[in-house]
């Protein structure tokens, strides 16, 4: 586990704080531990974290309020509640305030480490997504933020929002088959159910944009019964 992964741990019980910090450090994380809600917010504003582990009953400001305040300015950093409050109302409240996961005390060490690993991985993926602003395929460059395709000769072709999202998804998962379900979930967000033809039409459009020979595609492939795959030949 690389050292750069940082966790903000907010827990007011000294012994618990020491034991959690020790375990996370042994797993290779860099841990900044604080004991109250107000300090947690102050530290969060000053530093960058891949995960926040938050107790609910805290001095100065409770964990729910801390979570709510963090979510006003940051919707991406994963938050894991670690608390003695175990009713379903408490769990619902925690998730409503914007937490990603909820673990009740006393918890298992193994379970904590696994959940932390999953949440941190998710935060890294979100970071990678943010960093992908442009991508070059052949002599054309896609600009994801401005929804444009720029050719080497300077010609600009506008892209629709869904075209851009689908391109981004396939490029991030390059050389992997992406299922129709994953495409629907990411690009259409299950709002509407496009027919298979709709996704096919998008792929045909991409081929028109990028493939030198549309009948023998080298970048955008259909995989029968599964979905689609982008291959980068460079």
């Amino acid at each position: 586990m690389p050292q750069k992964l940082r966790i903000l741990l907010v827990e007011d019980e000294d012994h618990l704080l020491d034991a959690i910090k020790l375990n996370l450090e042994l797993e290779g994380y860099k841990v900044h531990a604080v004991k109250d809600g107000k300090t947690a917010l102050k530290v969060f504003k000053e530093e960058r974290f891949n995960l926040i582990i938050l107790d609910v009953m805290l001095p100065e400001m409770d964990g729910f309020q801390v979570c709510e305040t963090i979510r006003l300015e940051n919707t991406e950093v994963p938050i894991l509640f670690l608390t003695a409050k175990n009713t379903s109302e408490d769990r619902v409240m925690g998730l409503k305030k914007g937490a990603d996961d909820y673990l009740v005390k006393p918890f298992n060490l193994e379970e904590l480490i696994l959940r932390v690993g999953i949440l941190v991985k998710r935060s890294m993926k979100a970071d990678d997504l943010k960093e992908l602003n442009s991508y070059k395929i052949g002599d054309k460059t896609i600009y994801f933020n401005s929804f444009e395709l720029k050719q080497d000769d300077g010609l600009i072709v506008p892209l629709t929002k869904k075209e851009t999202m689908l391109l981004k998804l396939l490029i991030e998962r390059k050389n992997e088959a992406v299922s129709r379900e994953q495409i629907l979930e990411t690009v259409w967000n299950y709002d509407v159910y496009p027919s298979t033809r709709t996704i096919d039409n998008f792929i045909l459009t991409f081929r028109k944009y990028f493939e030198p020979d549309q009948k023998n595609p080298v970048y955008f492939h259909s995989i029968r019964g599964v979905g689609y795959k982008f291959t980068d030949i460079h």
Binding site: E13, H15, L16, D18, A19, A84, L109
Partner: protein
């Protein structure tokens, strides 16, 4: 007409009095419900936090290849957590017995000075490690007739509260003397003090100052209830006042 007006105003007067008492009773009921809710929250926290710490410490020792010093530190922390759980269970049992009137307070003469010294020594070890945190001034040979177990709970609760509410390493005073022939115990702290409006309420069962979710201190709201009940059964008086420049002073005078 005058008679109707008279009857009407009497009726209105009675209605107002009735409404006032109803309002007071609902308010009292609400306060009790809130206190019980707070008690549940604090007991949940007080039981589960040390349990979680003990479980995690043991799992850490089993899973990791730790050096001796780290293992000892985790085990010592666990022992302190077990003592904390034991104190909590004792307090809950004693409070329940007092409530049920099933505890008889067996009384005998004993040396209060020895008991207070023993308790301050024990709590000094558990405090933040600063040598001067608890400053005992104990006159030797102060004797009382009372229930040793219940009175030791009184002294422990008062000194623990003083340590708990004081800032890190702030001095806590424990003074035991014979004042005009009556044993007199004073516990002083330099914490935030107790607002005047709450001074009468802190001895109520489950009462805790402030909101449980933004707790600054550990506790269940049983300690001072036990203190009051035990002292009542010993015909002893307790008073609380402000310390200068800040903090609280608890004074017990035995009859």
């Amino acid at each position: 007409m005058a008679m109707v007006m008279g009857e009407g105003s009497v009726f209105l007067f009675l209605l107002c009095i009735g409404a006032y008492f109803l309002h007071q009773s609902i308010k009292k009921e609400d306060r009790l419900r809130e206190q019980q809710q707070n008690f549940l929250l604090s007991v949940t926290h007080e039981l589960k936090s040390p349990l979680a710490a003990i479980k995690l410490s043991i799992q850490t020792i089993v899973k990791r290849d730790l050096d001796k010093a780290r293992q000892t530190s985790l085990l010592n922390n666990s022992l302190k957590d077990i003592e904390r759980l034991d104190d909590l269970v004792e307090n809950m049992l004693l409070a329940t017995k007092i409530e049920n009137r099933s505890y008889s307070f067996p009384k005998e003469e004993f040396d209060l000075s020895e008991m207070v010294s023993r308790i301050t020594d024990r709590l000094q070890i558990h405090s933040c490690g600063c040598e001067q945190l608890i400053n005992p001034k104990i006159q030797p040979g102060v004797k009382v007739v009372g229930d040793q177990f219940a009175l030791s709970s009184v002294v422990t609760n008062l000194v623990e509260n003083a340590v708990k509410y004081s800032g890190p390493c702030a001095e806590v005073g424990v003074e035991l003397t014979n004042k005009d022939g009556h044993p007199f115990l004073r516990v002083t702290d330099k914490g935030p003090g107790i607002p005047d409006a709450e001074k009468m309420l802190i001895f109520d069962k489950f009462y805790r100052v402030g909101d449980e979710n933004v707790r600054k201190s550990k506790g269940t709201g049983l300690g001072l209830f036990i203190v009051k009940e035990v002292l009542q059964s010993h015909d002893a008086d307790i008073s609380v006042k402000d310390n200068a420049p800040q903090g609280a002073i608890f004074e017990i005078t035995f009859s």
